[in-house]
Symmetry: D3
Subunit: 299 residues, 6 copies
């Protein structure tokens, strides 16, 4: 088989792969100026947000109290510009192929949403500060607040979740999910951006944690690696497809602790101060203050 044959195979594969029947449903056609949201840019956005929220720990690390305003100013302006563009992409994506969407008015809307997000960053920082305290207090191996902020995966995952959740509340499509999946890939912690989570939340180690879209979590909750807050089953519509939007994940009230690899399924309530042991499967309500554990292993 000589090189020209290779070229022949290539051009034939290209022809097949370029037939519209072949790529139907797997192809995103753009009109001019309407790219998809970019994972690379969203990654830069998250880095800027971390640098603004935790100055000196992320981003330019030689910041000091006299020059902090410069750095926060520049980072905030960059964040605004990048986020406006990404939100515009998200809005265009959600509008579908037939709308005439990348107009001046869509651009204006994207800018407004981006500015609203930024106006909520001081509050975002306040809540994340409670999560940092919870992580530090909850881990005897933590040697300093600085160690927690700079290397705990929980802080990364929860930061991304809280940022994504704000964007989702503002009605921004697609982007919140990409942001939480970025943290999922980085930390193994999968929190759906639509979940509702109170203050002083922490996750220890974290790999394998799943928190579903309709989960509700109170304040001072702590969960360990491998914990699932999932759906037990979900009603199907007439076409046999799952009905979207039904509350189907657990509620964890204040001060609940869930140990590693526990699986809690369905719209059940784990009552205030309850403790759920590791490696167990919970599909019914757990009363306030209860403590449930796995049956003993056989030797």
């Amino acid at each position: 088989m000589d090189p020209l044959n290779f070229t022949h195979i290539l051009t034939q594969a290209v022809d097949e792969l370029s037939e519209s029947k072949s790529y139907q449903g797997l192809f995103h056609q753009h009109k001019d100026g309407e790219p998809l949201p970019s994972a690379r840019v969203l990654c830069e956005i998250i880095e800027l947000a971390r640098a603004i929220i935790f100055p000196g720990y992320f981003g330019n690390s030689t910041i000091n109290s006299r020059t902090i305003t410069y750095h926060i100013g520049v980072n905030t302006e960059k964040l605004f510009n990048l986020l406006s563009d990404q939100i515009l992409s998200g809005l265009c994506f959600a509008s579908g192929p037939d709308c005439d969407c990348c107009t001046d008015s869509k651009r204006e809307e994207a800018g407004r949403l981006s500015a609203q997000f930024i106006s909520r960053m001081p509050e975002l920082r306040r809540i994340l500060a409670t999560d940092v305290v919870a992580a530090y207090n909850g881990d005897p191996a933590a040697e300093s607040i600085g160690e927690v902020i700079s290397c705990y995966p929980a802080i990364k995952a929860i930061s991304n979740y809280r940022i994504a959740h704000e964007l989702l509340k503002l009605g921004v499509p697609l982007i919140p999910r990409i942001i939480t999946e970025m943290a999922h890939s980085e930390t193994g912690i999968d929190i759906h951006p639509a979940a509702k989570i109170g203050e002083y939340f922490t996750i220890d180690h974290g790999t394998g944690v799943v928190i579903g879209a309709t989960s509700i979590i109170g304040n001072h909750v702590k969960i360990y690696q491998g914990v699932t807050l999932g759906a037990k089953s979900f009603p199907l519509d007439d076409d046999g497809k799952p009905i979207k939007g039904i509350a189907r994940h657990p509620i964890l009230e204040d001060n609940v602790i869930v140990y590693s690899n526990a699986t809690i399924l369905g719209r059940i309530t784990i009552g205030k101060d309850a403790t759920v042991g590791g490696n167990i499967w919970v599909t019914e309500d757990v009363p306030v203050g209860a403590r449930i554990v796995q049956p003993t292993a056989k030797k």
Copy 2:
């Protein structure tokens, strides 16, 4: 201790580390022009393959139906060139240090294997389209096909697996394993490239999933995070080393569902339409249509 002492310590460590006795077994000696397969290039190859299979979602996002042939053409040619080089590296690696392998004939063979892979890409795309449908239909939180393609870890892991599996079927050494490990690192989903998996396959959340080398999975199968399809134990040879190549992982027939953190071990069969509950340990056949669950937790 002055700087010159540091240099002295360094040069002594270098001498020790450069003794052949020290690096024996940990050193890969290359002959000219025979580098190892490169993780960085394989990463680029995967990005090109994704851009070809899902045009507009990966790679150049401003593609449209009039110019799609240009983009698929360029990406396919790049893929062919990069893949030919990597396959050549893989062939040289597998031939061991004594062969005279980087000859024109090896180069020709690498080109032929690369072209064969590319000729299978239309079929690869067809099967991946079924996986996308399965992921969308199986998740009430999925808002669009586009969201599934662009951010679901299952699609990333299954794409890499299906690409790696094709390469393994063509007899390409080492590279298939590197490709699935790349997805393992990105998604926490570890699918051995030798596993056999049917159409409409999906994995929800996915972190911690392990699918062993001799697993066989039918059509329309769904598994959740933390599920293991593993080996129970494996026979050792006379030197106490595991005998390679024995069928030792489970068979999952069509329409099986396995919930989170379940562990299924050994060459057993989970029958058609069966459901395996979460957090359980299964080492025996499960009949067609059966439903097995964990014993109740103690309160």
Copy 3:
């Protein structure tokens, strides 16, 4: 809302975010020349260490036995320089904001610690060689030692742990934890740098493994994905905060095997040659040679 309004929102958010009350506890102020340890540089350090320990598999892949000294020499010197700088950053971080720390004497100390680390690299390589053998012998799917070194996540995670553990023994602050968290993100395997682990250690698949700070692991131990060696509970001090430094994680003696998703909690001992089955919860000592498994699932 016109662009100037957006600017107004931005400058207001910047003002709020730059108030010292807002960033208190979340801000790391540096004095001149005292940056935080850098994740990017530590990543480069790990790549250099891998290239030195496994020549030809990582780093410059066209190395051969005549030129190996050049490559190990250059990489070792680079490693020394980068590591000295990072250790200096770590020492400054640990000294807190009031000390006058980036002096010539701190710089000298950082250089000395870096040189000591390098003098231990031949021994580090010797131990990692045993881990490679253990991974190869323990996995029937492993086709060559080369495959194990170049793509097994266990080797990546254990390399980082062993490097971090040496640094921790030298008294280097913060950096060991960042290094193990880097492997955690890459592999899903979370080994605390303070854990003590013997030779011929291996982890199969690995996602979700957690090995706590005071764990002690003997020689020839093998664990599977999702295994936790954790703390059961920990005593609190008068302020309700966990007391740091108490032995609270398990001891695994020589030749122990722990199957997937098992959870072993507290300062208990898993005796020599014992086997712990998957998906179980162990909080009491397991005798030498014992084999414990999960109770049977309900059908």
Copy 4:
């Protein structure tokens, strides 16, 4: 002087440098979405144009005649997109700070100009092919057409000029000048984009060549390094500033040769087939077919 003093000096300098009086006339204020044309992007645009015009010599060098359409297609689309954005920036720059310019209609205009430029590229290539022939025929040291295309500075400078000249004819502001200055920096050849230059034009060596804005050059002209086609003097307006737009540079008719370091000034005509010797100063018309040289040196 302690670090805090340095910070004090810095913040004071920042305050002075941020006063509007200080930066007046040196500051380009942008409204949202109106960046300046970017040197980096224009550089990418030139590389794309070279790759389209001289396929295989620039850009992807492994092109062949079967796949050339793919490459030219992708490069042309990229060029269109990048150029549209840069033209938009140029239009906004030229409109000044008070217009409301980045509207949908400006965007449409930029796209139209970019498309018009692309429709002229086949003709651009045809003319550049004549310049390549002239360079090859005019230099005994040239060993092949390929050598001329891939490394002669004249080809780089003339390509940039011809591209810039087309854009200038389309009315695109600022960008043509940036493009010729890029070639000036790369080759030392400074051709104003408004000059008019015929076919089969070549420049030997080229460093120091200056061709002014109102120069007119016929076909088959050759000039050497250090040649200036400049203005002798220019009339001033009532404010003592030069009046813009007056024809003030030389006309070189067909087949003229100008040797190194000659200086030709003012709106004079160098007649057909004339030769101008090196290191001389010409401020009056030169007749058709004449040959002028420097007076003899003194020994």
Copy 5:
């Protein structure tokens, strides 16, 4: 000749090249932490300085008057840090191999010099503004001040010179020369950092201009491409080497114009308002208001 022979040739060349006799005089030995000034970092320093002096034209181009302080603040702090490090390298370089120079006190000195440079930047900007005006007024082809700032090589070369000259006045070794050579490479204009140049200075086109170390240039001077302000000859010391530091370059008084390729040599004075024609060789004083030109060419 087989690959091993190549390796043999290589190792032999390495041995020869590593002999101290071979590299004597061409080798710069560093002590720890004393690198040479870095061209790459100095390039970044120049970009920062341009972004501070001409905000919106260089650096972040989306700056506006409300956020300008943030950008200038961040850029100034970055400039201070990078410049301090480079000055330290320069001081160590100048101290020679035997001093014990990278001490805390040298670091303090470098910081102080860097801060002093920054405190002079407002004045630097004021003078550069006069050069911009001169370039715009002196060129009928200039369409706007913005065009002059963003693409005229004269502005780049004069900016680098003025920055380098300030550093030289502060006593910083080596770095000023590197900075002017960077502009020389970019623009073909070679201004020695020790030259003294007044306000409203401009250079048209510029390639080939040379301004020697002891030149003195008044206000409102304009020179064209290819002009040399050089030394005629220089006295040698007893070893036949040129005596350093003697005034040996021309003085150009206010309002002098020098046309292209003129060569002015020796410590002579070109009087106020004088004009020097192109392509001539001047080695004697030119009176105030005089006009000298080349003898007529022969036809």
Copy 6:
């Protein structure tokens, strides 16, 4: 004109530009694995060569005498590998489109040439050391040998020339010319790689210098900026094209000095110890020890 019209214009331009008639003579078709020499890689090769010849001044600047062998070893091996590949590309380019050239034997030849080049590097370094001395001794503004090596354009241009000249002597096609054009672009000094140049050669400032292909230059020669050693005219063949390979450039004997902007044309000889003044045009032999200057300017 709507977006689809733009697409229409694009696809039409692509069709025209992809017609073989349009790109004829401007297209370089490659067979598999036969790319053109790469400017980017040749740039890296030059940086490696500079780092080997002037250790500590270029490349890794923290080198010291104990570790110098490591650095030179690694750089030499890298240089060998990169240069072998580039020479192979050059050989394929020179063989034209019809040969079957990228065979194992061509690869072997490229390796041998690359090794031969490396074996000449010690001698290359010895000669360059004489050029450095000449530059230092010839310039009263030079403050140290280190300044000369690290920032004088003459050293850059002459290094590239000497490297290119060695490659040309070995019979390597195309690459020598690319290497000298790289220096031409960086420094404005254009030395043809075929010129023959003795020891202790220096060029002051250098912009605009041209040294033609058949020039011969003795030892201890010094030339200034803007000097041309060119051809006066060249005989044409029957097709009116210049006959290649005829000696047509000047001979400069030992100790000659040529001042700025002088133009010396034709196969003439400038005798030993002669001096040629600036801005003059020389087309006849200059006797040993003579001194020629420009006629006086008119006032």
